[in-house]
Symmetry: D2
Subunit: 362 residues, 4 copies
């Protein structure tokens, strides 16, 4: 289904970096959900580049909702959000040598040269603005049902943030208000310095995002194939630069023993809870009522100013490349709101499948 994801609640993405508009269609939403345009704008601001640690490209993100919302609420029919591309300087980009680490060569093999190569075209991170707007339509509805989503930069340029604390919901609330989402501001300062340093070297850095979701009911997801992990990871790998997704203890579970990795269970307020959460809130593909926890590995931004060895797909010539123009020395701090948005949309789908199409508005 390609640019459409989801079964009961789905999102369809379209647009190119230098086309007139990008956008998203969100289908299957419950009718009657309040749509908060100010919140959508604020989420877009979190994604938007800012300051020395991001590209200088300025995107106004003056979105328009052209369907599916009537008198401030979802109608239940497809919600379409359009975002014009205001600040496109096509002169910065022309078909040239393939940029290492980017999709240029893969796209050339797939589209035979008919792809819109300007600024990465449909592969551009720019398209995630539409994802963020789509996520912002549903995040308040999830919150109204007691489901809170938040992400911190668990690691950037080798620097670790503090781990989530005991009051997870408080951590998530705090993170959602921060432009640079770290739990420990000291670590955040070091990360920003490292990003600026990479920028001044013409280089870039990567990181790890850790996401938590509280308030999810137990019993969501499927044992085979449509596991919570499988469905979420499917969507998360669309967030540009994500090269790994893990749940709970993730790759560190590989080094544990069963007696440490298993989460002991006890009763709390009449419900079973686990003492630890190494399984990240999912067992056998199905939510167990504990917070959902997962990590995304974000590779360093491939667009760097340093000279790189590459080839020209049209001519097959080997060549050296220096990428000029506006670029991000790191994407990890901007990607976190994209991860939150993707998570929100996927959870809406899983919940609607489980509890029906009206559940989110009940």
């Amino acid at each position: 289904m390609k640019n459409t994801f989801g079964t009961s609640v789905s999102v369809t993405l379209f647009g190119e970096s230098h086309g007139p508009e990008i956008g998203a269609v969100i289908d299957g939403l419950a009718p009657g959900l309040p749509v908060d345009e100010a919140f959508i704008a604020s989420q877009l601001t979190l994604r938007r580049p800012a300051g020395r640690i991001s590209t200088a490209r300025q995107e106004a993100d003056a979105f328009r909702i052209v369907s599916g919302v009537f008198e401030g609420r979802t109608t239940g029919t497809p919600v379409t959000i359009l975002i014009p591309n205001a600040d496109t300087r096509s002169g910065d980009y022309q078909r040239g040598p393939a940029r290492p680490g980017h999709a240029d060569l893969a796209a050339y093999a797939k589209y035979h040269g008919f792809e819109d190569y300007r600024g990465g075209g449909h592969f551009s991170g720019r398209v995630t603005a539409a994802l963020v707007a789509a996520g912002a339509v549903v995040l308040p509805a999830l919150k109204a049902k007691g489901i809170l989503i938040g992400t911190h930069i668990a690691r950037c340029a080798g620097i670790n943030d503090a781990p989530f604390g005991n009051d997870l919901s408080a951590d998530l609330e705090k993170l959602n208000s921060l432009p640079f989402a770290v739990l420990d501001e000291g670590s955040g300062e070091q990360m920003r310095a490292a990003i600026e340093n990479a920028a001044s070297n013409g280089d870039s850095v990567g990181g790890v995002l850790e996401t938590a979701v509280t308030g999810l009911p137990a019993g969501v997801g499927e044992p085979w194939f449509d596991t919570v992990e499988g469905v979420l990871s499917h969507a998360l790998f669309s967030v540009p630069a994500v090269k790994g997704v893990s749940f709970g203890g993730g790759f560190s579970l590989a080094d544990m023993t069963g007696s440490t990795a298993n989460d002991p269970v006890r009763m709390e307020n009449g419900k079973p809870v686990t003492v630890t959460n190494h399984n990240g809130g999912v067992n056998g593909g199905i939510t167990n009522g504990m917070p959902l926890l997962f990590r995304c590995a974000v590779k360093p931004t491939p667009s760097i100013a340093l000279e790189q060895q590459t080839v020209n797909p049209l001519t097959g010539e080997e060549t050296a490349l220096r990428i000029s123009g506006r670029h991000d020395p790191a994407i990890v701090h901007r990607a976190r709101v994209v991860v939150d948005s993707v998570t929100a949309l996927v959870l809406c789908d899983l919940l609607a499948l489980r509890y029906g199409t009206d559940w989110l508005s009940l």
Copy 2:
């Protein structure tokens, strides 16, 4: 779609650990593919527990193909493989306290107690025998098209295997013939010793599987949502105990700079190739012609003999649990053929979508 995965080529799984039969339906296969029952049997043997490092449960895996194969070749209509459950000792399992690290509590929340709890029921790793049989139907056809899949135990109980060497295809051929798939036999001996040690402690260990695929054409996959990473990870998280999936450098990319993580490109035999393969053969969600590389984190087997703290879902009582019966002190060595099988099925689907339903038999 739950227990069915795939768009053009799909696999449907069914069955419970202690039911009469488990099985798989593989649909959408090209007609005319030779079906090699001896190879299916040998793949099932790779999955089957053996020796002191596995459960003592002996499964004959006397599979039957009841549809979709005629005169030794696929017909193009659904191939159904049934595997009887011969060695089921239901007495070993009764509804009891929830086993920590297993799906018991999540399943209880989802199915309200109607689930077949015996031996994990539909959640049992036993069901992967059907996946392996399904994969074994298509692996030879992929190989005939020059596509080779293989997995090694990159890490187990903290012990690393040697990395893939320069002749990747030779490594894959070698791995596919080994019952315990390591590139370095010395590391393999240490791993087996660690697994036996865990078993003697009543405990279990985990590991990391690394898979490579050679011979994939460039240009397969989609930029948003149906990325190669997304589709593969979706399916791989169904392999029991997998809690993380990463591509190429994976989580280690998070600590690199762009100048090291980007794969420089040069020409070789008239085709662009990358000097390194930190991106694991995928850029922008699409294959770039380099080998596909990914890793799966496998948690330690949750069934351990040591006493664990848990609750009874029926009564809500806290209790201590000692799991008796037959269990695996590690699953990682058995899971690798499951990973190969899932990979083969997913690639058949992606290739059929790209090149049409007959491609695999052309």
Copy 3:
């Protein structure tokens, strides 16, 4: 997705006329639904050929449920039903000239001759036994929710049955107990005589099935694409020999005026009801709370004893063909339980999507 249909509740079909077993996997069912094996058997009897108006092939239909049912109830995981093919006389069938009106030539073009041609292989009406068994799993659950499905032979060999009467539910109950489903027994006798007459001429006849569903809630279905009409017709065209599907007044609506075709609305017991039901219970693709009404055109059985002009797909030679062996002079009376079954499965899917996966068992 080919041999799998449905989104939240799905059915996967497999098997060939002369293979060892045919079967179906029903996935996504609510847990806890009682499974009535005697009812499944009785539904299979309704489909089974009987007497002079059907083929002499005798199928025991000794089905086995091998997954998804535990202690007499659905578990919520895939239900697999296997039906052995007992009475296969492969000698009756060999690759020969293409049978006119059958799928032989189309299948040859699609499968390049690798298809199992014996008795129509996967195209055989035999496969509908699995559909009927699958439908029989869910029909009692729908009935328990007040949803009643029934079909009569509205027309056969040019002879009309009486139309549905004022007490639609009573009509449906009556039809479901009849081996030859007509509302007017006199018409039924004429139909049977016409079928016998066709048989004695070595020919066959067709008919029209009319189905009604009572008790469906209003508000099910989607405005575009996944309309109730669209989803149902998609599945109904899989019933062999169905060449037309229409809702409510169907093709006769084409000759009406708006003032007669529109269904006036009035209030009854506090709910809006329509005075007539020319729209068949669906407006804009969505149920309106009135009975669902639709018709299926069933073509005459293509297997006839009379000589026909055809070609041999292997050699390209023109030839005359007389089909020997066991055949049905009409399929319409056997197809009605298939239509009921397909309808039941599709409605389960639409209802689960609308109200959640547990709805059917609440």
Copy 4:
């Protein structure tokens, strides 16, 4: 998936009658297909109301393609077409009594009153403009592959058009250039007079559309569920007012005998062809190489000026309703280009699944 249809090639519809814009996203198209904006405009003109036999609403249909087309050709990424709603007079429409024959009551049950009721909202035939634009993107590409689609008004207000003649492709070419698509102009004049007559009575009329497709390869479609008939009918029932879909002889097959309904086969230019085409080019769900033939029953437009009995969904009051404003006394002549467009999109999907994503541009 609701407002998205298709597997390899898909279309997503959005928008409301009185919203700012309606539109479609077409995904999965082969890269490199020329996009002919003048042809899109001309197809939209065929759909647009004209003269006394249509509503007086004038829609400029000034579409914009905002993604997926670069330098005049498809890129292979999603093509998005937006059509502004210029001539919306919301004053004409207010939440009032439910209009009989329309989706008003069904929508109210589904969306609980949150639906955009103005002009039918998302249910409006207005949305088909986006479908027509989407179809116009692919129709020339199909034609370039030798696949021709055309539809005539086979019947309107009880008046029959002439049947298709011996030179089917010539008929289709002719029909595609006609604003009122009939093969016999005399019948067309009678139909238009009947439509005008209905309009002057404040009433409306329906009809039957018959579509033919030439040049389709044999071997497309699936035996169960994703039959050509099933997939096409699924989409065709989304065309507003379509209440029946039949293939080949359709409902008239029900009255034939097998010896007349079966299509005898002979060889022509080394390929098997049928002497008649009662099966409409499809056997067993799969194309047989003969022209695809199907019919859609179109009910009379539900919006009529005559007084009708209905209820107010908000208050539950019974009331009489006279619909004022701009309405179509028939929709059948406008619907034919919608049917052609839907057919084109569905066939692109089936062909891409069969032959791969690049096939249409090869």
